[in-house]
């Protein structure tokens, strides 16, 4: 009986230790969400301005440029997956990876070859466990992304997009990331970065025909300069959104873990009390039984 009691006490202690950790992680995430959200809000005007300019050019100009025109017969597509470096964030990484699997199936069914770029240790782990290849990966700092990383990813993507197909170039670039909707909702989202698909923040073309854009110095130079800026800003925004989502997801996951630990501690305390009481009861009945036996032996 004493053994049983000891086991219960051990479990209580273990749950208490876990609870301390999960509670601490919850608080850390909660304090970081604010900052991450502010960074998303601060970078949104830039991202919106760039996207707006690019889509306006794509919609209202008649130039043909890699940025604005769809390639005929696309053969290869690149998918950039934004996961996290650490787990313990609920379904955060799993939902992004699931979404990218669906995207892969879709692209393959359209006869395109899919190549991957990975951001975050969890995505890398997922791929290496399944022995699948990725072209390049970036790990570290997914919870506090830096613009320099976005720039690096952007350069790589521009390079691979402008390269010839024979030399491993791609015809499409998709990104998969968790969009921060609110503290309780983060939805995995797939965006086709190139060729341009979404005309974000831009009204549908009105009936009147807008004059064509004038470019300075000239069309090609402007669009060439715009391409990396556009990709960078979209990637940076995706990284920030993903970071904010990661913190929110972790906070929620750790909150429910702490709550579960509370329930466990309560349940095991009840069981331990029960075990202690029955131990005492048994001891008493043994003593009484023993005394009775002595009395009747006389």
């Amino acid at each position: 009986m004493g053994a049983q009691l000891r086991v219960y006490r051990q479990r209580i202690r273990s749950a208490q230790t876990t609870k301390k950790i999960t509670r601490a992680m919850e608080l850390i995430s909660a304090s970081r969400i604010q900052k991450a959200q502010q960074r998303v809000a601060a970078s949104t005007p830039y991202s919106r301005a760039v996207t707006r300019a690019v889509s306006a050019v794509a919609t209202y100009s008649n130039v043909s440029h890699v940025l604005t025109t769809e390639r005929e017969n696309p053969k290869r597509a690149a998918v950039v997956i934004f996961a996290s470096d650490r787990g313990l964030a609920g379904a955060f990484s799993a939902s992004v990876l699931k979404e990218s699997e669906e995207l892969t199936t879709l692209l393959r069914s359209q006869g395109k070859e899919v190549v991957y770029y990975l951001v975050g240790r969890k995505a890398v782990g997922y791929f290496s466990f399944r022995k699948r290849a990725s072209l390049r990966s970036w790990v570290g700092g997914t919870d506090q992304p830096e613009f320099a990383t976005a720039q690096e990813i952007g350069e790589e993507l521009v390079d691979v997009f402008t390269r010839d197909e024979a030399q491993g170039g791609v015809d499409e670039i998709h990104i998969v990331y968790n969009r921060f909707v609110s503290m309780v909702t983060q939805t995995p989202e797939v965006v086709r970065l190139l060729p341009l698909e979404i005309v974000e923040g831009l009204e549908a073309p009105s009936a009147e025909v807008l004059p064509l854009y004038e470019f300075e110095p000239e069309v090609d130079a402007v669009l060439d300069a715009l391409l990396p800026v556009y990709i960078e800003s979209r990637i940076y925004n995706a990284m920030l959104q993903s970071a904010a989502s990661e913190h929110a997801a972790r906070q929620r996951a750790m909150k429910s873990a702490s709550d579960n630990a509370d329930t466990l501690i309560r349940d095991y305390t009840r069981l331990a009390n029960n075990a202690r009481q029955s131990e005492i009861t048994q001891q008493i009945s043994e003593i009484v039984g023993g005394a009775d036996a002595l009395v009747s032996a006389k």
């Binding site: 830039y46 050019v57 004059p211 854009y213 110095p217 402007v222 715009l226 800003s233």
Partner: protein
């Protein structure tokens, strides 16, 4: 008279936003002045200052680096990786 709506944004924040009568910026080809009613334009900025003249003559000067300028429907957007107000 129509006025320009101007936004100056950098990679990590919005620097300035408001209405103006004239914007002067330095593109890679030289200085360009924009008044209300300007045709749609997309230009690459050379690093240098962007001067925004508000109605009433107040001037706002911003240093912009590595960016571009877009104009459409009296909406001027100055986008730069790095930008800051000079005054």
């Amino acid at each position: 008279m129509a006025v320009l709506t101007v936004d100056v944004v950098s990679a990590d924040s919005q620097i300035w936003s408001g209405e103006a009568e004239m914007v002067v910026a330095r593109t890679s080809e030289g200085e360009i002045g924009i008044l209300p009613g300007h045709e749609p334009l997309l230009a690459i900025l050379a690093s240098g200052e962007v001067r925004v003249t508000q109605s009433g003559g107040r001037k706002i000067v911003a240093n912009a680096e590595d960016g571009f300028l877009s104009v459409e429907n009296n909406q001027v957007t100055i986008v730069a990786r790095q930008a800051e107000l000079a005054n």
